[in-house]
């Protein structure tokens, strides 16, 4: 069964790249072009996982991440931040805002797929335990 992945990024280059990487796995892709649309689609689409860019117009990824976490309807959805800034401080901020994991740009396909697999497997185990 395909897992729904919500890609939130204002860059068509990144969206295209992520789509190509995810095309190799059992994923169904939904796209949002900024933080506001991302928060809305997280609620309406109920994806299995969200790939969230940090720098975006209207609402940045960190704010969107916190908004998704604070809504009971979306709080459970794992969020992977996609960031150009790999510095420790930025990563800490992302985790403080509730992200599950992060990948840095340029995106490495194997790293992204491995992280998504791990997160989705952990979620299955978690759901089983519940």
């Amino acid at each position: 069964m395909k897992k729904k992945v919500l890609l939130v990024d204002d860059s068509t280059t990144v969206i295209l790249m992520e789509k190509m990487i995810l095309a190799k796995g059992p994923y169904e892709v939904v796209v949002a072009r900024d933080g506001v649309e991302g928060v809305a689609k997280a609620k309406s689409e109920q994806p299995a996982v969200i790939l969230l860019d940090v720098m975006m117009p209207n609402m940045d990824g960190l704010t969107a991440c916190a908004a998704i976490r604070s809504d009971p309807a979306t709080a459970h959805i794992p969020i992977v931040m996609v960031t150009t800034r790999g510095e420790e401080q930025n990563i800490e901020t992302a985790f403080r805002n509730g992200c599950t994991d992060y990948v840095t740009k340029p995106i490495n396909g194997l790293e992204l797929l491995t992280k998504l697999n791990n997160i989705l497997e952990m979620n299955l185990v978690g759901a089983g335990a519940r």
Binding site: S11, T12, T13, V14, L16, M17, M20, I21, K24, T84, R85, G86, E87, T104, K105, P106, I107, N108, G109, L110, L113
Partner: protein
């Protein structure tokens, strides 16, 4: 039978039984030794097979990582090419070039100049993360690496030992000419890499090549008149 004979006979029987018992033990010991040797040989073979299997698994994993890296590289090239040729709109071509550099190569300090031979200058047409005023326009014969790249059409990727970056070019990481029919029509400069990216990778050089040729074509097609002609 006399008592002595009875005793002797009994002792002989005991001695015979004892010899047979000892012989049986020796035989059993020999059999167990042989069995142990067989088992040890089996264990050595199994260990060897296990080591071989582990080695194969390591080789397979390494190959898998290599293939996945190649997949990512191909995806990078496909995305870059697709983005460059997906439009005749100048702004969108420039955005595509910037996005390729930021997201696929990994630099947030870049400049794109277009060569204006009538004015003998390079004019900054787009940038990201740099002081625009400092780099707005450069004479074609500007001293330094950027000028050399514009003049010779040879890319600078930090490995050129003949050229030396200095002054305001000190942080120059790469400088790529965009060429059409051998003529430099634009120049891209990268002034740093993202913090998590230590060095340029082989795919980056391929992306530079792609930008140098496809980027030039895409940019040229957006010039006044050319785009209209293509649309007609």
């Amino acid at each position: 039978m006399k008592p002595n004979e009875t005793h002797r006979s009994y002792i002989e029987k005991v001695a015979t039984d004892n010899r047979e018992y000892v012989q049986a033990l020796l035989d059993e010991n020999q059999r167990l030794h042989e069995q142990l040797a067989d088992l040890q040989a089996d264990r050595a073979r199994t260990t060897q097979m296990l080591e071989q299997a582990l080695e194969e698994r390591r080789a397979f994993s390494a190959r898998y990582v290599e293939v996945e890296q190649q997949n990512t590289n191909l995806a990078n090239l496909y995305v870059a090419s697709y983005q460059l040729h997906g439009t005749l709109d100048r702004e969108r071509v420039l955005t595509a070039i910037k996005e390729i550099i930021i997201n696929l190569i990994g630099s947030e300090e870049l400049a794109i100049w277009e060569v204006d031979r009538d004015f003998g200058a390079m004019v900054l047409i787009d940038s990201f993360g740099i002081d625009k005023g400092r780099w707005a326009a450069l004479p074609l014969d500007t001293p330094g690496v950027i000028g050399i790249v514009a003049k010779t059409g040879e890319a600078y990727t930090g490995h050129n030992t003949k050229v030396h970056v200095a002054g305001r070019e000190e942080r120059l990481t790469a400088c790529i000419p965009l060429k059409l029919d051998g003529e430099v029509i634009a120049v891209i400069a990268l002034f740093s890499l993202l913090a998590q990216k230590e060095r340029l990778e082989s795919i980056d050089y391929e992306l530079f090549d792609l930008l140098g040729s496809h980027g030039a074509t895409a940019l040229y097609c957006t010039r006044d008149g050319v785009a209209m002609e293509a649309l007609q």
